[in-house]
Symmetry: C2
Subunit: 300 residues, 2 copies
């Protein structure tokens, strides 16, 4: 049996619905814990207890560096970390915001998000992943696609975020498949690649038909017994197609890398490949940790 | 004090979320009652009690004709009234479906909905309003727009429904304004016509930008304090613009009438007018009652 674990520092990814903490030794992950105490479920004074409950056993008598990113830095978070304006580097050590914790062992700083004036846009958390990509591939110049509830398309050049665009594709899929009349025909598992490809192509060629195609999924279920796996793949294809139609200026003719390990990221890779792009792929967790580690290295 | 009211017949508009009954003398409404006992909240054996609770005092010792339309005739309703296939007249007296009620005073029939094979589509309830429009304006030839949770565009010619198209515009607005991240910036009353017009025009000219414009509403709220009344009008304009972009083949160059008395119908009139159409307008309730009355007249 080993003694208690005392990492060198702690990396924290704190979003709206989740809290993930990593015990770090340099760039190496010693241990990983998570809870559902996301920003959205916590009052201002609930953040420190939520963090201590998760990482308490990692703390020693000396102060511990904790680097956090995500919605924990929003106006409704633990401490607001005001947005930095693009064009700028994704993270700036001097702009990390110190949180006044009660427990003297905690030395917490939060990474600020980024904002764009025109068209108006914001991000929180993704800036750290972008910094991580640049830590891993310092010469990356092109477009990053960060799929998720809100997919971010980010133009990166010369180590800076030049511009970005948020598309609510993941949230639209969740609302339509979980809460709309379409939900009746979308339950279950399974998938149909051909249906995804066809719907993707249709939405990109004829984005104006999007609204009309949605209810067709329901009607085909009622009239022709459309299978849920086909309907779900088709809805996903329509939404990602509309996303790619809106963000063509980002990915067309640019080097593109898709960030993420999950199924959704795989669909964006498939969709971009179908459109003639040759997207690279980078893990989401490794990018987050590399971004937080970089802040630490730069500050030290 | 008058004695109890015994109408000649009873008209019933029974949707997913509402139940409305009208005590009728010929085409005249003597009284009107409603409840929230819609199809969605009732088990199969709950329909007759829900109806009796609402209209019990209207019944005499003799059998009473009750004509119903809407989701009450769906597979999950009181009694399934199978869809009729277009092209066809909106209602056919011979196709009205008799419901076996337990109370001997009730003689209930339900109007079947319509289905379309290609592209697959269905309607329930709107067919009765269309029949009502034709009862009121027998020579109507053109396109009917029936706004609502699911907006229906219907091509009517020579007394028949030729084709139709459902667009989930109302449901998308409800989901996005009530449940998505956009809800934070959309609460309250108030409206901005200029914001609606601008967003409508933008969505129609560039439907491919739709996905990208959605999150902008949130970002402008965070960065520039975008007013809720402007954001709400803009979201509405984007969605109705995407609707009109999808249904251009229906309304462009056709005589169009918008059916409905409410605010949403007014927005479709405004949008169509901005696109150079000169839409007529017909009340929704009067159309429903005229449709149900016509079935009665035809059967008598």
């Amino acid at each position: 049996m080993t003694g208690p674990l005392h990492p060198e520092w702690i990396a924290v990814d704190w979003g709206t619905t989740h809290l993930r903490a990593y015990a770090m030794q340099g760039d190496m992950v010693l241990a990983e814990v998570s809870s559902d105490q996301g920003m959205g479920s916590l009052p201002r004074n609930g953040f420190e207890p939520a963090l201590l409950a998760l990482i308490g056993t990692w703390l020693a008598d000396r102060p511990m560096e904790v680097r956090a990113c995500g919605m924990v830095g929003s106006r409704q978070g633990w401490q607001e970390a005001p947005y930095r304006a693009v064009p700028c580097t994704p993270l700036d050590p001097a702009a990390m915001v110190r949180v006044p914790a009660i427990d003297p062992r905690l030395r917490v700083t939060i990474a600020p998000g980024l904002k764009q004036a025109t068209p108006p846009d914001v991000m929180r958390g993704e800036e750290t992943q972008i910094a991580g990509v640049l830590a891993l591939q310092p010469r990356f110049d092109g477009v990053l696609c960060l799929p998720g509830t809100h997919c971010k398309w980010v133009h990166v050049s010369a180590g800076e975020v030049v511009s970005f665009q948020t598309v609510m594709t993941g949230e639209l899929f969740a609302l339509l498949s979980g809460q709309s009349v379409l939900r009746h025909g979308l339950q279950g598992d399974g998938w149909d690649d051909a249906a995804f490809d066809e719907a993707l192509s249709d939405a990109m060629s004829h984005p104006s038909r999007f609204s009309a195609r949605l209810f067709t999924l329901r009607a085909e279920g009622l009239l022709n017994g459309l299978e849920a796996r086909v309907a779900r793949a088709r809805l996903s294809g329509l939404l990602i197609g509309l996303d790619l139609a809106a963000t063509r200026a980002y990915w067309l003719g640019q080097p593109v890398a898709v960030l993420g390990d999950d199924r959704l990221a795989g669909l964006y890779v498939r969709a971009l490949t179908a459109q003639g792009a040759a997207p690279g792929r980078i893990g989401g967790r490794v990018a987050t940790l590399a971004g937080l580690a970089r802040m630490r290295g730069a500050e030290a």
